[in-house]
Each structure stands twice: as C-alpha cells, then as structure tokens.
C-alpha cells in the first residue's frame, strides 16, 4: 500500500438489457445476425419516424435500480445527446440527462480490509450505437463500414461514486454487478459480445486531502482482468509522474492489451459539448408506487442473501455456499438436486467437483450443460443403492453432462452396473490373491494398506464395476482364512 497517496477510482458500466426487441422499435436484438438485417426506419434514424419506448427495458432498469439500493425516480424523461459519429445515424443518442430513472444507490463488497461500501451515483436508460469496422487501423484507414444492428439495443448506464480505492476493489465491484445483473436476468453480461462494457476514471491524491487529483479516463478494456491491470498500470504511472514532479494531464487513455500499458488517445481531449435537450419525440415517464412495488415483489433472491440461506438451511460450509451462489443457474441446480436427494453436502461436492471441472474443461457456461438436478439426484441414489460404484458414477456423470440422458439408461446401455454378485466376484478375488502373494503376506503381517492395492486390481479387472466395499470385505475374509 502507498502510504503517501490514495487512489480514487470511479467506474462507468454499460450493460445491454436482455430484451427481445430494441428500446424504441420492434427490431430484434439478436446478436450475430448478418449486418444491417436487424434495422428499420426508426433505428436507422430516417426522417419522419417516431420512437416508442419498450416497457420491458423500463422494468429491467427499475429492477436493476432496486437491486442496487437506488431510489427510483417517480418522474423521469429522455434527452438527446448530440454528437457526430457514423455509428449514430440520427446524429444524437436518446439518453437520460438530468432526470435518470434510478439514483443514489450503493453496494457492499467484501475485500481483504473488510466490507467496503461503494455508492452508485445514477443508473439511466439509453440506446446503444452501431458497430464500426475500420479498414485498417482507425487513424490510417481509408474508410469504415457501419453495421446498425446494435443501434437501439437498450442499455443501462451504471455510474459509481468515486468510492473505489484499489484496482482489486474495482474488480470486486464489477464481479458484484455482474452477478447481480445475471441473477436478475436482465443482462447476460457477456463482455466478448459487448453486452458489458466498462470505462474507468482514476486519479491520485495525497492521503488526507479531500480534493481530487487530476483524473484520467481509461477505455477499451475487454475483460475484468484487463480493467484491473489497466488501473494498476495507471496508478503506477501517475505515481511516477508525481514523484518526478511531472504534470498529470487530464485525458482519455486506451488500454493496449498486447503492450500491457495505457496509451494516450490524442484528439479526444477537447471537452465534449453534447448540447443535451429534452427528447421531443417521447413523453415523460412516471413510475408510481404500485409499479415499483410490483417489480420489487418479483425480484429474485439476491446472491448474498441466498448464500446465507444456503449456510443456514442446508448446513453447508461457507465456502460451498459461496461457490454455489456464484451464479443463479448453479444455485438453482443445487437446490433442484437437493429436493431430489437430501444430502446437501454430497450434492455440493458433486457440483463443485465433477460438474465445475467439466464446465471449465469444456469452456462452457453453466446454463449450457445438459445436467439437471433431477438427473444428478437420481444418479446419487443409484450410488447409495449400490447399483453403481463411485468410480463408475463419474463416467455416468460425464455422459449425463453431455447428453442429458437418464442415468439408468446410461448404465444399462453401457453395461456399467455394479457387480455385487458374490459368486461372480469370488473367482476374480481368488485369482488376484493367487497372483499377488507378496501383498497377501503384507496384509497377514498387519500392513492394511496392501488391501487397497488388491481391491484396485479387482477394479481394474472389472473396469471399475465391482462393488469396492464388497471386494474389500471378501479379501479380508479370504486372507484371514488362509
């Protein structure tokens, strides 16, 4: 930690709200369609068209505001933000200026130094712009290609107070936001597809000083990791400038992922003058108590609340509860399985172990797997009933993970049923005893460990299908008889 200087960070996050249609017209918001096929006269900004607000976008923003402890404005309006750029066909963006839908919220993140409160200044609703592809690099290209599919996709802009003190806290804040938004189901927060974008403001000031130092705006960070790295780099760069009594210039800098440093974006320095004015094509928005209350009642259980309930209700360790509530889908899977199979810790072990291992290995999203709580519960019961061994269970699990097939069917089709038939096992056990006189001698001399080796040989012989407890007992009985 720097004893002399304190870092001050504020984040501006844009998230795409997961509606089917755009904010002011009925075009689809689907990602990855052929360029310009999701456009119409309204989102192309053709003269004479009128925007009509999508109710779901408003509901989603109110949900977000409530979940982040904001006040919901009973009266709000839209404004035009004017600037020229080819990704904006109307030459203005419909946004909210002085009367945002939500404001004055906060979140609390857990850090090494304890609970840290970060204020949310405001959350407003606006439309996204189109996508530009430059022919060559932006400064040397001869022209640019514009795809307006994204134009008019609803965005929530979430602005934090300058309450963040370290790059790690910034990352915690973003994790919290992402988790919350995913729980609410209002955004998929996919950074790769651009559904979550983040800009940061960062400055340094002597500890104890109230006035902020000169701030730098950081852009173009494509992952939470990149944001943390860019902030750490910038913190160091500014500290060095202060040490050398050089001036920190108020500017916008872009994060260069390859070079691992921030680079000044010259030409963007002049203060923007967006000449905001009320959008005359829309009417004001009034959210009365009933509307807000209706939404509040429909809010899902938030991650931290769910985590604490898991610890209490299912008596699982805090670590488990933390991992399981990391995403709503994972927590749902857990609860669905526990209703089927009432051993929460065992269920938790399978989800945190095999399930997450496969998810990571296959680079999948939790929601994309074929496993259901019912299937996993059924499989765990089959283990209890000695239909399958724990080793075979892993094979069955992997198959269920990929195909979503019933575990009973998998066991049947693949002939994985556990061998608990004593007659069948007896011959194998006897053979193994014969083939391993040394191990048998060890066991006789009290080296119990060697039994494990012999059981392993039987498992190998039966391709994991033998009932290990049974085999273990059989070895004990037989060897003591020798």
């Amino acid at each position: 930690m720097d004893n002399k200087f304190e870092t001050v960070i504020g984040l501006e996050v844009h998230v795409q709200l997961d509606t089917d249609s755009k904010i002011f017209c009925s075009c689809s918001t689907e990602f990855g369609k052929e360029p310009n096929t999701n456009t119409c006269p309204v989102c192309l900004g053709l003269p004479g068209t009128l925007p009509v607000l999508n109710k779901k976008a408003v509901d989603y923003l109110v949900m977000t505001g409530l979940a982040l402890n904001c006040d919901i404005a009973s009266y709000s309006k839209f404004d035009r933000k004017n600037y020229f750029y080819p990704d904006l066909p109307k030459a203005y963006q419909i946004s909210q200026y002085d009367l945002p839908l939500a404001k004055d919220g906060y979140i609390e993140v857990e850090t090494e130094e304890g609970t840290h409160k970060i204020g949310i200044t405001r959350i407003h609703l606006e439309e996204d712009a189109g996508k530009l592809i430059h022919e060559g690099s932006i400064d040397k290209s001869s022209g640019s290609l514009v795809d307006y599919n994204r134009t008019g996709v609803p965005l929530a802009e979430i602005v934090s107070e300058p309450d963040i003190r370290t790059p790690a806290q910034a990352r915690e804040y973003l994790n919290y936001l992402k988790k919350t938004l995913e729980y609410l189901g209002v955004s998929d927060c996919n950074m790769e597809e651009g559904s979550l974008r983040c800009d940061a403001n960062i400055s340094l000031r002597p500890r104890g000083q109230e006035q902020f130092g000169t701030k730098v705006e950081l852009k173009n960070m494509n992952s939470f990791k990149a944001i943390e790295k860019a902030l750490a780099y910038e913190q160091k760069r500014q500290r060095k400038l202060i040490d050398n009594t050089d001036e920190i210039i108020q500017e916008t800098r872009t994060w260069d992922e390859d070079k691992n440093k921030t680079i000044s974006m010259r030409g963007k320095e002049e203060a923007n003058d967006y000449r905001y004015f009320p959008e005359p094509d829309l009417v004001p928005l009034e959210i009365n108590e009933n509307w807000a209350e209706e939404i509040r009642e429909r809010l899902p259980e938030m991650p931290s609340v769910r985590k604490n309930r898991f610890i209490k209700e299912y008596e699982i360790p805090e670590y488990d509860a933390d991992v399981l509530t990391d995403s709503r889908e994972l927590a749902d899977l857990f609860e669905e399985c526990v209703t089927e199979y009432n051993d929460p810790k065992e269920v938790s072990n399978w989800i945190m172990g095999e399930f997450l291992r496969l998810v990571n290995e296959e680079k999948m999203e939790v929601g994309d797997t074929k496993i259901t709580g019912q299937l996993l519960g059924k499989m765990l019961k089959m283990m209890d009933e000695d239909v399958i061994s724990s080793k075979i269970a892993k094979t069955v699990f992997e198959e269920m993970f990929h195909t979503g097939k019933d575990p009973e069917k998998i066991v049947e089709e693949k002939g994985l049923k556990q061998i608990s038939d004593e007659d069948k096992l007896e011959t194998i056990v006897e053979n193994i005893i014969e083939e391993n006189p040394d191990a048998v001698e060890d066991i006789k001399n009290g080296k119990d460990k060697a039994i494990g080796y012999l059981v392993g040989q039987v498992m190998k012989e039966t391709k994991g299908k033998a009932n290990p407890q049974m085999v273990n007992q059989m070895f004990r009985d037989k060897i003591s008889e020798l």
Partner: protein
C-alpha cells in the same frame, strides 16, 4: 447576445462550415432571437419546474415484441457507398489527429 466566436463554436459542433459573412449574419440573427426570448426573464419563474413537455401525456409504452425488420435492399438504398451489406463511410479521424 451571441458573438461571432460563439457562432463559430456552434457551427463547429454542428459540423457546419460558415463563411466570414455568414458568421456575421448569424451572430446578428441569433442575437436578435435570444434577445427576443429574453423577454421571458421578466417573469418570476422561481417556483416553476422547468417545463420539458407541454402536452398532458405520459408513459407511452410498447410491449417487448419483435416484428419484421426492413429488407436489406431497402436499408442500403440511401447508403452513399456499401460493402458486404454495410454502409461505407469516409475515414473518421483526421491525419493530424
């Protein structure tokens, strides 16, 4: 009062190129307009919320339902230049930027 400097700045923000003569003309005309509107300053508006809308309508909303978009041929009909179903526009940054 709007001076020529302000006219130049507004023209710049609106991506308009004005001649010296036009700048002078507009400075005069815009000043006249603003002076005229300034008459409203005579009224006491201390207790009045800024009026953004004058019609008594609120909450005009639509359901989140997808309808068909425009044909791509029609979409690109007004494009000055097109390439791969996209609008092609001249380079964005100036050389010295």
């Amino acid at each position: 009062m709007i001076n020529e400097e302000e006219v130049k700045k507004i023209a710049d923000l609106a991506s308009l190129k004005l001649s010296e003569e036009e700048t002078k003309t507009f400075a005069k005309q815009l000043s006249d307009i603003v002076d005229y509107v300034e008459k409203l300053d005579e009224l006491d508006t201390d207790d009045i919320v800024p009026t953004a809308y004058t019609i008594p309508v609120k909450n005009v909303l639509r359901k989140d339902e997808v309808e068909e978009s425009l044909d791509i041929e029609k979409v690109l009909k007004n494009a000055p230049e097109e390439l791969d179903n996209q609008f092609r526009v001249p380079k964005i940054m100036d050389e010295d930027n």
